[in-house]
């Protein structure tokens, strides 16, 4: 099996290199184009402390750098959460958005904004909302004892998400139309436009914690993809492991949603692409998924701010990519993943 695992290293390594190149390109691209050599010079000037300021410096260092950081973290977090949920539910069609976790987190965050809470409180509310949503979906789907468990779980997720969407609409309706409502609406669209260093600093610990937990348990998470009885007979404390994985994946989702609103499809599409490249074994799948997710999100965001005179919300672009891929997955869902 060393052949496959060295291939996994090759894939992840190549993707990581590609990601570095992508970051350099993204720093230069946009409505104020900056050449690659100038980007390199500006970055270096901040490393050796000879920065002279100026417009290009401000654009690269104060505007694009934090924005790229947020995009990378959100992409890695949502994709990794998707991969974890897919193993956990033995279902390649679930993702933070199809499970209702994103909507639950969004409701928590919207309530936080509505009540004028600070950023940490908004993150906590988003986490609580996400846990509540995934708990509700699991409870309902398991009581339905359906014939088609794969599809039932998705349908339950969609139903719960639409209910949470109604609750979000209610909060919007009650919100102050001059200050809160525009803030909530733009944030819900999913955007990195307002990203600053503060957002990177609040996002990083939550995402890092979630990914480290998933990575240290990675091999054991494979066993959650087996039927419950089999995993337990193999010596896994499935209840506890499942709770930890749900908490980690939901934390990653909630932190992302609290910063950038609902950005769909990444958690569904990226793990699938990674699985095609490195296989389903989770300790290989997770690093590949995180790198692919970061690169995908950054590419989408860079496109979103450079293809048109005004910014296109990145959630719109991910949907354009994600919808056909989801239909493709659904069509072959009777076959193997």
């Amino acid at each position: 099996m060393s052949g496959l695992s060295s291939r996994a290293w090759f894939v992840s390594g190549t993707a990581a290199l590609g990601l570095v190149v992508l970051v350099l390109l993204a720093l230069g691209a946009g409505r104020y184009p900056i050449s690659a050599s100038e980007v390199a010079a500006i970055l270096w000037s901040h490393v050796d402390g000879t920065s002279r300021g100026g417009t290009a410096d401000a654009v690269v260092w104060q505007i694009r750098f934090p924005r790229i950081g947020v995009a990378l973290l959100v992409g890695a977090a949502l994709a990794s959460a998707g991969a974890a949920y897919q193993h956990l539910f033995r279902n390649p069609l679930v993702a933070p958005d199809t499970l209702g976790v994103s909507s639950g987190s969004a409701l928590g965050a919207v309530l936080g904004i509505f009540l004028g809470a600070g950023f940490v409180a908004i993150e906590v509310a988003a986490f609580a909302g996400g846990l509540l949503a995934v708990g509700a979906v699991m409870a309902i789907a398991s009581r339905l004892r359906a014939h088609e468990p794969l599809v039932t779980l998705i349908l339950t997720g969609i139903v719960v998400a639409s209910l949470l969407g109604a609750a979000i609409s209610l909060v919007k309706y009650l919100a102050d139309p001059y200050n809160q409502l525009p803030a909530i609406t733009f944030w819900l669209l999913g955007s990195f436009a307002a990203a600053s260093g503060g957002e990177v600093r609040s996002l990083l610990p939550a995402v890092a914690l979630a990914l480290i937990v998933l990575l240290t348990l990675a091999w054991r998470i494979n066993l959650l993809a087996l039927p419950e009885d089999e995993a337990r007979a193999l010596g896994v404390d499935t209840k506890r492991l499942r709770a930890i994985v749900i908490a980690a994946a939901t934390l990653a989702t909630a932190a992302s949603v609290a910063v950038s609103g609902i950005i769909g499809w990444i958690g569904l599409v990226v793990p699938h692409m990674a699985r095609l490249c490195v296989g389903p074994e989770f300790s290989r799948l997770l690093p590949a998924t995180a790198i692919f997710g970061a690169a995908f999100m950054l590419a989408i965001d860079t496109l979103a701010r450079s293809i048109a005179p005004i910014e296109v919300p990145p959630g719109v672009l991910t949907a354009v990519v994600g919808t056909p891929v989801f239909i493709f997955l659904l069509a072959r869902s009777r076959r193997a993943f």
Binding site: M1, G3, L4, H87, R90, N91, P92, T216, L217, A218, W219, R220, N222, L223, A225, L226, P227, D229, E230, R232, A233, L234, G235, V236, D237, R275, G279, P280, E281, S283, R335, A336, F337
Partner: protein, 261 residues
């Protein structure tokens, strides 16, 4: 190895079966027979500690089953479930390596020695060539053998197989059964369920016949599987005919049980 006394089992307060008593020594094989819904799988889940016993006791290697941690249970009892199509295309080697979970700490990944054990388990079943194939692309018989290999990689002294020959074709059935014979020869204690009285006659030392959860007979296979017991168990008229050597097989006859004599 395995001591079961007055065991009652079921889900919550619902009773599925009771009064099951048997003990299994090292290198011994017990076949469990019973019609659909007789409680074979529920009995197995209780023996594995996946369901709590409603009454009575299960002792494994001298310790009460309920006092053992999940890991300790998995080190003593290995389970071969009925085969099914898995959700993800793990390679066969990865799937067999999962049998090592009870031998590894929570954060550990399998190392070279675990890989060797996994490859050996596949080799013992003569299917080491399957190692790189995705489990989703195997035939039913191959998948069953992979599940047996995973149980072997667990290195538990007791092997519990739930209908290991169900949904297998004639050749694969024979292959799996001869593997069970060979494993018994290596000192493993084996419990398996089957719908074929013939398999119990040829491949098990003893047979437990379950009718609606209660033992109808528990004895050496040859003595437990009489024509009248089998007829009563399945509600069809059968005759046991000699098939050459010391072997005999069951043949279904016309008419309702009891009519013939």
């Amino acid at each position: 190895m395995l001591d079961v006394r007055d065991l009652a089992f079921g889900f919550g307060s619902r009773r599925v079966g009771s009064d099951v008593t048997f003990s299994l020594a090292r290198g011994e094989t017990l076949a469990v027979l019973g019609g659909n819904g007789a409680g074979k799988t529920t009995l197995f889940r209780t023996l594995l500690g996946l369901l709590p016993a409603q009454a009575g006791s299960v002792q494994v290697g001298g310790d009460a089953l309920h006092s053992l941690s999940p890991i300790e249970r998995a080190r003593r009892l290995a389970y071969v479930p009925q085969q099914h199509v898995p959700a993800f295309g793990f390679s066969v080697e990865e799937a067999v390596l999962m049998g090592r979970a009870a031998r590894l700490s929570t954060f550990a990944r399998p190392g070279e020695s675990d890989r060797r054990i996994a490859r050996d388990a596949l080799a013992r079943l003569g299917v080491e060539g399957l190692a790189p194939r995705p489990v989703t692309e195997l035939s039913g018989g191959e998948r069953q053998l992979v599940l047996v290999a995973r149980a072997l990689a667990q290195e538990a002294p007791i092997l519990i197989l739930d209908e290991p020959t169900a949904s297998l074709d004639f050749g694969n059935r024979a292959r799996v059964l001869s593997e069970i014979d060979r494993l018994r020869g290596t000192g493993l204690s084996i419990v398996f369920s089957t719908h074929e009285p013939d398999h119990a006659l040829t491949h098990a030392d003893r047979a437990l016949l379950l009718a609606e959860g209660k033992p109808l007979a528990l004895d050496a296979s040859d003595r437990a599987l009489t024509e009248s017991n089998v007829a009563q168990l399945y509600g069809v008229n059968v005759r046991r005919v000699m098939a050459g050597g010391a072997r005999s097989v069951f043949v279904v006859e016309e008419g309702r049980p009891g009519e013939r004599r």
